[in-house]
């Protein structure tokens, strides 16, 4: 049976470009946060910062599946664990900037908002506001993770050795 190969379409040989890499890292960081943010927060941001934005749909918003893979034994060969719903959107701003949004779940509106903010983040006139938004989302996510870690830490077993019956 046919086995799909990894995609190879987008692997042009390229020199490492630190400026581009830094831009990619910043964009990834933003996309990761936008996916996990509360949707209302993204709505509020756009209403405040870019109320009359012209947005064209390029792909989606649409909901589909992502096949989630695990690894045998945790670190071995990949296997297909099961699917999860995901939603995604690609949009184009009036100036041609393309933005992508994608996240787990069926919230297509959220995916579209994330795509718009991803596009804005690439524009000099919005980059600072988007960075501030991303930092604020990250701070909340980190606080939630810390809370979870601390609640879990409270259930840590502190073993102590009983007095032994020697002597």
């Amino acid at each position: 049976m046919d086995k799909p190969q990894p995609r190879t379409a987008f692997a042009p040989a390229k020199e490492p470009d630190t400026a581009q890499d830094a831009q990619a890292a910043r964009r990834k960081r933003a996309m990761d946060s936008l996916a996990r943010s509360d949707r209302g927060r993204l709505e509020a941001f756009l209403a405040r910062e870019a109320a009359d934005l012209e947005v064209h749909a390029v792909r989606g918003p649409e909901t589909g599946l992502v096949m989630v893979r695990g690894r045998i034994g945790g670190g071995g060969a990949p296997f297909n664990l099961g699917e999860a719903t995901m939603s995604r959107a690609t949009i184009r701003l009036a100036d041609g900037t393309i933005g992508h949004g994608q996240l787990l779940g069926s919230d297509r509106a959220h995916a579209r908002l994330a795509a718009i903010i991803d596009a804005l983040g690439q524009r000099a006139d919005y980059a600072a506001q988007v960075n501030a938004l991303v930092s604020a989302i990250e701070a909340d996510l980190t606080a939630a993770d810390e809370r979870l870690a601390e609640e879990t830490a409270a259930t840590r077993v502190d073993f102590f050795t009983m007095v032994r019956g020697e002597d």
């Binding site: 799909p4 190969q5 995609r7 379409a9 831009q23 390029v58 184009r92 041609g96």
Partner: protein, 200 residues
């Protein structure tokens, strides 16, 4: 970060669902009536050298589960990223892995036996080739027969190689295995499923 050509994000159907459904219906009818030319009403606008008909078929039939084989020239063109973004189909350099294969106009007609022919148990696991020609009519007339054709029909595409009758007979001899062929030109297509025979 690779620069993805702007063309990647353009050229999809105006209405992703209805246009794909209409194209599917047209394609299905064309496959059921081998040799008959079908003109797509709603067309995709893929980057060159893919034709509108090829782009339309791609948007209609390709997805995550259909690896697609491209000729070297197509793989090096903007078509590769367009297909990936618009259809999600994985691209493969291996002919045997392609559920579909795209061939642009003007290159040598592909050797059909190099593609997946399916298995005796699963003859559907074969490659469907989508080959762009000069034109689908106006060439030398050829008689065809087989399922979906009442008696005999004719087709007259321009751009098929001289050896085509031999290639096609060899493909037909593999039945139930074999490839299926969609010939395209501009905004139209003509289907030759593996069951269609070339007469004379």
């Amino acid at each position: 970060m690779p620069k993805t050509a702007k063309a990647t994000y353009y050229g999809a159907f105006a209405d992703a669902v209805l246009d794909a459904q209409a194209a599917f219906r047209g394609l299905m009818d064309a496959m059921a009536r081998p040799g008959r030319i079908h003109r797509f009403a709603e067309l995709a606008s893929p980057p060159a050298p893919l034709s509108p008909a090829q782009g339309t078929i791609a948007l209609t039939l390709f997805d995550q589960d259909t690896p697609v084989h491209l000729t070297p020239a197509l793989a090096a063109s903007a078509v590769a990223s367009w297909l990936s973004f618009q259809t999600g189909a994985p691209l493969t350099a291996d002919r045997l892995q392609g559920r579909f294969a795209l061939v642009e106009k003007g290159v040598a007609f592909p050797a059909l036996s190099g593609f997946a022919l399916g298995t005796q148990d699963y003859p559907d696991r074969s490659t469907t080739l989508i080959v762009e020609l000069e034109a689908l009519a106006g060439g030398p007339e050829r008689c065809i027969a087989g399922p979906g054709i009442d008696g005999e029909a004719t087709m007259a595409p321009i751009g098929l190689p001289e050896a085509f009758p031999a290639l096609w007979a060899e493909n037909g001899a593999q039945f139930p295995r074999g490839v299926d062929l969609i010939l395209t030109a501009g905004d139209a297509c003509l289907c030759l499923p593996r069951t269609t025979r070339l007469l004379g």
